[in-house]
Amino acid sequence: MSGIHVTTTINGDEAEFICQPDETLLDVLRDRMGMTGSKEGCGSGDCGACSVMVNDRLVCSCLVLGAEAEGARVDTIEGMADGETLHPLQRKFLEHAALQCGVCTPGFLVAAKALLEKNPDPSEIEVRYWLAGNLCRCTGYDKIIRAVMDAAAEMRGA
């Protein structure tokens, strides 16, 4: 199999890689770019642990081919904080103890950020439905939902 050359932008930085036609974006991020923040919980689009943004759209990177990143803008958990400054969602997850093992956390943060960009003032039900694609086995979701609502309130300046 010959590799495909891909030029893309990851977290604002230009990036290039060579991947096989059957490699997923998640494989590329983790194995070729060394960005292991996105997790593989299922490889079938059912857990959300691999959530990233491609051209401002929330996707499961295990369902996107690496080759599809050509010319695209990819944003991952690694690019979420601004230098030393955590994103309000990251801060609120910590303050609300919204993680136990933490393996689902990157996916939840990326998905929640996508939600708040679309809808800065979601109801609890809206948050629950938006995050229904992200599995967490540890927390029972209570603290995650509270953290997202609180971050949204803070970001609105409430």
């Binding site: 983790r30 955590l86 993680l99 136990q100 956390t105 086995r137 029972g140």
Partner: protein, 754 residues
């Protein structure tokens, strides 16, 4: 003398009980934390396992020559690559690699190591296995029949009298109880007896098992990956590979959930065997399908419960018979199930008999309070029914029969200080309990119990030159335990929380530590940490005495400082930890504290759950509309993480009660080995999970801690079952109470009524 400190009793703890940020938090919210699959090593190969497509088959021959010849394949192994092992490890060995027979669909039969994943996948296709397919059995009641297909031709039931002479799939019988149940039932005014069935569920941790291993020709080996017990991994793997324990160093990565499912080995020995053969590092990461098919789900079960009461609600006798299917090897948690069955009741006449049954399914592994939720579902359902029969409030009914300190437990020993009565009273007083219900809604309550565990534990504390503290523990941080360790050490030293750091040490850095199970971490590693801190404090007092030139006994410790004790000790300014540490070189060298112990005195714990459920009469779908967990924590070190355990355990139980199940086809193959079809609760399925922490100190711990992690999964099946039963007016006796099951129940009832 009670080891309980006065501080815990009179509420003088300053830091324990607060909610600081967890020390590993930033790594986890930025994606920097390294979990099992995140490791790489130079020259690393990809390992992949070939698994049986049959539920039960004799392996006549395996031909690996074509796979070995494929370019990029560096090693292929089968059962032949493992030698003789100690008898205690035979089942483990046969589970990680089939020897002679494949015992369940997904059973490993061979493995390869290759330069990349696509070569590894191709190599698996080239391995030829000649199977002789045998009849199989996956259902527990069928497997227990005398004419069922035999999984082991030589298995004789232990614990029966007269001794078994004919092989069967029943590996053991366990009995617990006291008094005379026959006499007790004769005294009863009302007796209810029913049989309940529960399907197997999976622990469902989001992180699949993943290990990187390296083993050289000199037998020196390293493993890196996700586990609940890296010392167990070391000892088991050393035994399976025939190497010295001291040659294998195991480092626990961050762990993405376990709930008991990462308390045994699955791919670790395979990784090492491949690495030994290829002489290169090898990594194996399971796919989700492999996790479902080849790692521990729970037991499925069939349980008969019979309880007799007087008209005024006193239980006169309780009897249960439990059948637990534990997969293709002995060792289902039926013994724990039989012990925990009636633990929430003070009984004169009680008996529980458990049968451990083999079937052609993956070997079960511990899952949070292993064995308890299934039988407690049955017991709490019958209790609910009895309370309703005599028109008594179900909390009052439980209060009337609840054990207290000094009462004999249904499983034998006498209870120490326990908090069931306080927890039940708190449930009754909770606003949830008296809130109005809407149409098609029901409210259920259930109580639950778990033993908790202590075990082999050790901890090191090193004081840095600047007076800051590093704690090393041997228990992986599965849910925020580093924060609890830091809090307890900061409390002992009397210094700010952020001057303390906790790490999980590898197997070569500390003595043996038991697996992170039995809700033991905050209790046991906390206990060892406190004692290590006290040892370090003792050493610092000695150093201060030396600096001041006074006897050691004349030095006291408080608020992070050594102080002369009393007027006769001399007039010295207190010395801070930083000052004492700075002069360590002159006073005897580095300052440390250390503690090794086999901790006992883990306090048992009780929880009570209240569930509201609404049933859609058209679809049979249940929606949990409100849920409250009340549980005795002994002492909550970090209350936010205790609440998290309550909430997470409750939701796993809700999933078990309503939707999660292992579905087997006629062919003995698992039909739903993925998150799409194995339906775990998602955020939109649930309400907020209300919690209330009750604190009745455990005398076995300096701060009164009890384990909290497991009890929360015990009551939900019963609480949801009771709520659903009330909502539909029929007693539910099976989990999951999925829409098709409820719909079928409701319509057959309607038909019968017409």
């Amino acid at each position: 003398m009670s080891r309980l400190t006065e501080k815990a009793r009179d509420g003088a703890l300053k830091q324990v009980g607060t909610r600081p940020l967890r020390p590993d938090g930033i790594d986890k919210v930025t994606g920097r934390a390294r979990f099992g699959a995140d490791a790489v090593a130079p020259g690393m190969l990809v390992g992949k396992i070939l698994r049986s497509p049959h539920a039960h088959a004799r392996i006549k021959a395996i031909d690996t020559t074509k796979a070995e010849a494929l370019s990029g394949v560096k090693a292929v192994i089968t059962a032949d690559d493992f030698g003789d092992v100690d008898e205690s490890l035979t089942d483990t060995l046969h589970n990680i690699m089939a020897h002679g027979k494949a015992l369940y669909e997904g059973h490993a039969v061979a493995a390869v190591a290759a330069v990349n994943m696509s070569v590894a996948r191709q190599a698996l296709k080239l391995i030829e296995v000649d199977y002789d397919v045998l009849p199989h059995v996956t259902d527990v009641e069928e497997a227990a029949q005398p004419d069922a297909p035999l999984i082991r031709e030589d298995l004789l039931t232990v614990g029966v009298n007269p001794p078994a002479t004919k092989p069967s799939n029943i590996s053991a019988r366990h009995e617990f109880g006291h008094g005379d149940v026959g006499k007790g039932f004769a005294e009863a005014d009302i007796i209810v007896e029913r049989t309940f069935r529960t399907e197997a569920t999976h622990q469902g941790y989001i992180e699949p098992h993943s290990w990187l291993g390296s083993m050289g020709p000199d037998g020196q080996a390293e493993l890196w990956g996700c586990t609940q017990g890296h010392y167990m991994v070391r000892d088991t793997c050393a035994g399976l590979l025939g190497i010295d324990v001291s040659k294998l160093r195991v480092t626990a990565s961050e762990i993405g959930g376990g709930f008991g499912g990462k308390t045994t080995v699955f791919v670790e020995p395979v990784v090492l065997a491949l690495s030994r053969k290829a002489n290169r590092p090898v990594k194996i990461t399971m796919s989700r399908e492999e996790v479902f098919k080849a790692t521990g789900p729970t037991s499925s079960s069939a349980n008969r419960v019979k309880i007799g009461i007087t008209k005024d609600g006193r239980i006169t006798a309780a009897d249960a018979e439990l059948f637990y299917q534990g997969g293709a090897f002995p060792g289902s948690p039926v013994e724990f199930g039989a012990m925990a069955a009636f633990a929430c009741y003070a009984l004169e006449n009680v008996r529980a008999v458990g049968w451990d049954v083999l079937a052609n399914r993956p070997k079960q592994a511990a899952y949070r309070a292993p064995g308890a939720p299934m039988i407690v579902f049955a017991v709490e359902s019958v209790i609910d029914e009895l309370a309703r029969r005599i028109d008594m409030d179900p909390v009052d009914f439980r209060l009337k029969n609840a054990p207290k300190e000094g009462d004999r437990s249904s499983y034998g020993p006498k209870f120490g200080p326990i908090g069931l009565i306080q927890t039940l009273e708190a449930a009754k007083a909770h606003p949830h309990y008296s809130a109005p219900l809407g149409p098609n809604q029901g409210r259920g309550i259930a109580a639950g119990f778990w033993f908790n565990f202590g075990g082999m534990t050790c901890s090191n504390i090193n004081i840095g030159n600047d007076g800051t503290v590093t704690i090393a523990v041997g228990t992986p941080d599965i849910g925020g335990s580093r924060a609890s360790m830091c809090l307890m050490a900061a409390e002992e030293f009397g210094i700010p929380y952020d001057r303390v750091k906790a790490i999980v040490a590898d197997t070569s850095a500390l003595g043996f530590n038991d697996v992170t199970d039995g809700s033991r971490v905050t209790f046991s590693s906390g206990y060892a940490t406190i004692q290590s801190a006290r040892a370090a404090i003792g050493e610092m007092c000695k150093r201060a005495a030396q600096i001041w030139g006074i006897p050691e006994e004349a030095v006291d410790w408080s608020d992070g400082h050594a102080r002369p004790s009393g007027p006769n000790a001399g007039d010295f300014e207190p010395l801070s930890m930083a000052e004492i540490a700075a002069s360590a070189a002159r006073t005897g060298g580095p300052i440390a504290g250390h503690h090794e112990v086999n901790v006992d005195g883990a306090g048992v714990s009780f929880g009570v759950h209240i569930a509201d459920v609404e049933i859609d009469p058209q679809t049979g779908r249940s929606t949990v509309t409100r849920y409250t967990v009340l549980q005795d924590a002994g002492k909550a070190i970090h209350p936010a993480y205790v609440e998290g355990q309550y909430q997470g355990g409750a939701v796993q139980g809700i999933g078990w009660a309503l939707n999660e199940e292992y579905i087997y086809g006629e062919d003995g193959r698992l039909q739903n080995a993925g998150f799409l079809d194995y339906r775990m609760p998602v955020a939109s399925d649930l309400p907020m999970i209300d919690t209330q922490i009750i604190e009745i100190p455990n005398e076995g711990h300096p701060y009164g801690v009890r384990g909290v992690g497991e009890t929360p999964i015990v009551p939900p099946l019963g609480a949801i079952g009771n709520a659903v039963s009330q909502a539909i007016g029929l007693r539910v006796t099976e989990t999951p109470m999925s829409p098709p099951r409820l719909l079928a129940m409701m319509s057959s009832y309607r038909e019968a009524a017409e």
